[in-house]
Symmetry: C2
Subunit: 652 residues, 2 copies
């Protein structure tokens, strides 16, 4: 959603609902936002031609494929999946687009996305905690004289004391080697780079000196080292702004998609060095991308903060990950000392400092700690649930007083794994969906409005929820037999629902979701929900005590909150109390680059965060089995959802 694009208001008739959208949205996605169903099997690629609407007022771009005759076009018909607003519009959804419902416009639930948490540098400044871990300061010093022949180093320290009130400074050997010349190059006007200690009682390291004033050019990097993807931000340490971003698949990916396969690789001779080299190459490539986008010199970057899961962190640092995959799952370390970026072969100047986020355990890593720091859960009064859903779902529960965490083996369902037509969130993936409650015809919305080729995690969630809400499947995930639609049929893996007919999609067969897919999905959501419930109860609370939820991870940005609650993935909480922080790991790394106080806090947070190994908690297994039900076997946990589902089923 690029907020620089112009926005237009679209009014849908006959319901009169209005919605404001940007000019790059289609009329179909606008209808979806307005909670209106338009049949659209082909995912918005214009192939099925079912999504005809009548343009009553205003102008649109496109809106016509060969499925629409010139005559109909002249009468105002457009294809909703292709038409984009050029002005405010009034659009009528004709009866035929709703397939034989006699002119009644079908309303479907308006979907709730989580509010997006925006990073607020100004707030840090107001709170007095804007203090990058590395800072540049300009000093104008007096030249030595017979009665003032203090050493060059002492002169600099004296200047830092008198001009900036800075004390407790150690000058590195590399800096000492440069200061004589630097002082005399520009008549004793220099810029020094100070690397802050975690602890105020610690020493500041004077890591660099430049002749002249360069204090306005101070840059840092924040990196999330994901198992799949590495993301980086190039930051202006004076303003806190992101000047460039970059990302790339983790170079290790050709050695396996999950952490276990990377560990196995690292255990081979030279394997650890290989894995280390691959991820560093990825980081270096992203740094290169970002520098290219800006007029910043590599040497002007003085710090890099990195966060990743425990295995990724071990591989990055060249630590042996062997015991992460073997019970009792012992990492080499959860705290990592500040190091020189060059010691990891990161392509930065000699003085650049690398800071690596600490972890909690083998399966609750620095990425989660970074998310906790970035999202501020450790400073809130409210009982908060933090969930980062990827191959594993990591959950953290707590507030400013206490924090508990655990990793749930959710499996890869949310990333498309174990699902017949599952795929990653890429072009052609069905990512949004609604179901006609009477005809059971789908409204498939794909990423990039491409012909559908599969289902990504957010699509899977909303499909399962829609099937459940409309009574197409029952709480056990089994299809209701005897519904009058050709889309429900018996397939090779039990009953299935056809989302896309072969001729309307982008692959050589029908795209379906079957009972095995739904079972796999249910296992995944059960692993997460039962993890949350177990964790909350371990500290003597109830799921209903949770006051807010913070979602992180790529999946979280697309997650439909109503669906997540409907299927029992997330606890029943007012959607207004759910916040999305995006890439929590990158956010935390960014925060650390802005506020050195975070680095002190993080030590405290890690120390007070209690990690649970769910498999070691007796009741977890029962909780898990109880959660293998949509939304849950215990109806009291989802009162509003159960009420709504019951009402819907009774209507039919």
């Amino acid at each position: 959603m690029n907020d620089k694009l112009p926005t237009y208001k679209i009014r849908f008739e006959p319901t009169g609902r209005e919605v404001t959208v940007a000019t790059d949205e289609t009329v179909m996605t606008a209808a979806r936002q307005a909670g209106l169903h338009i049949n659209a099997s082909c995912g918005g690629s214009g192939v099925c031609g079912k999504c005809r609407i009548i343009l009553e007022q205003g102008a649109v771009t496109d809106g016509r494929s060969e499925k629409l005759s010139a005559e109909d076009f002249a009468r105002g018909y457009r294809q909703a999946c292709l038409a984009r607003p050029d002005s405010d519009l009034t659009v009528r959804i004709p009866a035929e687009s709703e397939m034989g419902t006699g002119g009644l416009t079908i309303e479907v639930p308006i979907r709730h996305r989580a509010k997006i948490h925006l990073f607020d540098v100004e707030k840090l400044r107001r709170e007095g905690v804007f203090l990058p871990p590395v800072e540049k300061m300009c000093l104008e010093l007096l030249q030595p004289a017979a009665n003032d022949n203090m050493a060059d180093a002492g002169r600099i320290l004296q200047g830092l004391n008198s001009q900036y009130n800075e004390r407790r400074i150690v000058i590195t050997l590399a800096t000492l080697r440069k200061i004589r010349r630097a002082l005399r190059d520009k008549d004793f006007l220099i810029t020094v780079t100070l690397a802050r200690p975690v602890n105020e009682r610690g020493k500041n390291m004077l890591v660099n000196v430049q002749p002249g004033n360069w204090s306005h050019r101070s840059y840092g990097l924040a990196f999330d080292i994901g198992t799949t993807t590495v993301h980086g931000n190039l930051l202006d340490l004076q303003t806190g702004r992101v000047l460039a971003s970059g990302s790339s698949y983790n170079g290790q990916i050709s050695y396996g998609e999950d952490v276990i396969s990377r560990i196995i690789q690292a255990e081979k001779p030279e394997g650890l060095a290989l894995m280390q080299g691959l991820v560093v190459n990825t980081i270096n490539a992203i740094i290169g991308q970002m520098l290219k986008k800006t007029a910043i010199d590599r040497d002007e970057i003085s710090s890099i903060t990195l966060a990743g899961n425990t295995t990724m962190t071990h591989l990055l640092l060249g630590l042996e990950p062997h015991n992460i995959r073997r019970a009792p799952y012992v990492p080499v370390s959860i705290f990592f000392p500040p190091i020189r970026a060059q010691d990891l072969n990161i392509n930065l100047a000699e003085h650049a400092v690398a800071l690596v986020y600490p972890a909690i355990s083998s399966y609750v890593g620095g990425d989660i700690v970074a998310g906790v720091m970035g999202s501020g859960i450790y400073r809130t009064d409210k009982l908060t649930l933090y969930v980062d859903i990827g191959t594993n779902a990591e959950i953290v529960i707590g507030n400013r007083e206490w924090l508990v965490c655990a990793a749930c083996s959710a499996g890869p369902a949310f990333e498309g794994g174990g699902i017949t037509h599952g795929m990653r969130a890429a072009a052609g993936a069905i990512s949004d969906f609604s179901l006609h409650p009477l005809t059971f015809e789908p409204m498939n919305i794909t990423i990039g409005n491409k012909p559908p080729i599969g289902i990504c995690g957010s699509g899977l969630l909303i499909i399962v929820a829609a099937l459940l809400e409309n009574g197409v499947i029952n709480p056990r995930g089994k299809f209701t037999h005897g519904l009058s639609t050709p889309r429900i049929r018996e397939g090779r893996s039990g009953y299935e629902y056809v989302l896309v007919w072969k001729e309307e999609g982008g692959i050589d067969r029908d795209i379906v979701i079957n009972e095995v897919d739904i079972e796999n999905f249910t296992r995944a959501k059960a692993a997460i929900y039962s993890g949350i419930k177990t964790l909350v109860e371990e500290v003597g609370l109830q799921v209903s005590d949770i006051e807010q939820i913070i979602l992180a991870g790529a999946f979280g940005s697309f997650i439909d909150l109503d669906s997540a609650i409907t299927v029992g993935l997330l606890p029943e909480v007012d959607p207004a109390r759910i916040v999305y922080v995006g890439n929590g790991s990158l956010l935390g790394a960014w925060m650390s680059e802005m506020s050195n106080h975070i680095r002190k806090d993080v030590v405290e947070v890690v120390r007070r965060m209690t990690s649970f190994e769910l498999s070691e908690v007796g009741r977890f297994r029962d909780q898990y089995v109880a959660s293998l039900f949509l939304p849950h076997t215990d109806a009291t946990l989802f009162p509003a959802t159960i009420k709504r589902l019951t009402a819907g089923n009774n209507q039919r």
Copy 2:
């Protein structure tokens, strides 16, 4: 003086004086110790045959050259310069050995050497300050289990806390890379190496981990980086004992003998790297020498402390020394951070820490600071003068309350420079001397009892003092004319005294000392004495307030205290209050390897030590001119000396 050799008592007749000496001393040096003069022109090499004595009781080894007939030998005659005791002896000095004094045995002043300060590790232990900067500790840890899956690093830290009460520990990246394997190699029995911070509030660095128990094998190095010579000690950090010593000329010496020529060299392109490499090669060679003498592995050395003058320290660390030789004489730094020995290319294990002594100024370096620390002047109540005499003489005056220091440009006279027959203290150098008060015949004692080839610093001092005491020269350093001896004559540089006739010595001409030599000597001693006097008076005290003197440097070990006071080099102080600490720089480095507290103290000491640039002190020039007199123009400064000299002259 090897105290393992047997000692024998020698009684000299007719005086009846007794002295106890080791079996490797000659009867001549024994006589010298007893304050008895025996004519010996040839320096103890047996050539002149003048030092005949009669063995009345006991047995000697050797004691005969072709100068002694078989008949005389049978009668008990021996050559004192060749004879070594094999039992207690009674020896008669016959009249002829004293050359025409009619049987009167000539007594000459018994010489005072400074007491030797011995390094006392046990005292450090008693005071509770025996704490090497690097320590090894053995840990026996529990293996991880399902209910105890703490990270490897955390397990080690927990063990250090519970077993040794050690906290505030940072594990280096290099160590983290080793701990998984190290823990599992010997069933969680490991030895860790902790590098201590200077400050108790600082962090301990865990720099190494070894499987098994190696805590009893912990070694360190102490080095003095001299402009001329580099000295090293290999130390057992458990017992504090020196296991081996080594030394070698500083590899930079081919680029010039003094610091200025080294600086000029370092200013050339690549010159600094060249100088750095040369001194490090020297250090590495000495380490190699010392390891060869012991069964210690290079990797078992965890720390090295280095002390040197400011220029040597800059060259060692690769810091630009350019401004050390240019007014206002500004070094790059006087404090140096702890570094990895490998960062200086010192051939030690990756984990070995290098600690470099801080300096005071461009010309009062880390060698002097080390001497102050090693000798304990900074902790004494007594007003103490510390003098290290080399090419420059550095002086420190003070006590536990305050310290002042300065460098005196004494010139190279004490190292043999600017003296006609001057030489370094090597075999054949006249190092001890007495003068027959009536015949003016010399008793030359040379290093190694070799035929004389020149005069070293300690010899020069004692010769000048003897000439002055016996009225051969006057307080202005000019020869008394008309004394009845062929040894005083007019030479090319004014009057001179012949120490060794060509045929009795080891070179192709007579060895003499002339008035120009004495003038150069006087300038050198005046530079030091006037420096001491200026410094004392700058703090509002008098030279007579000095309560004790600490001598350091190679010259100090051989210095004859009476002579030094007689000529006005040192203030008139009871010789019992003068202590010799040997190589103060090496001593301080050794101390630092034994007691980390020294490193904290040294920061305080450097901060409270006030450095004076003598040339900037107005009265210094006058003081210097007043000191160009033997012992001084101001007789009140040397009351006892003046009284003695006057009495001696009146006798004649």
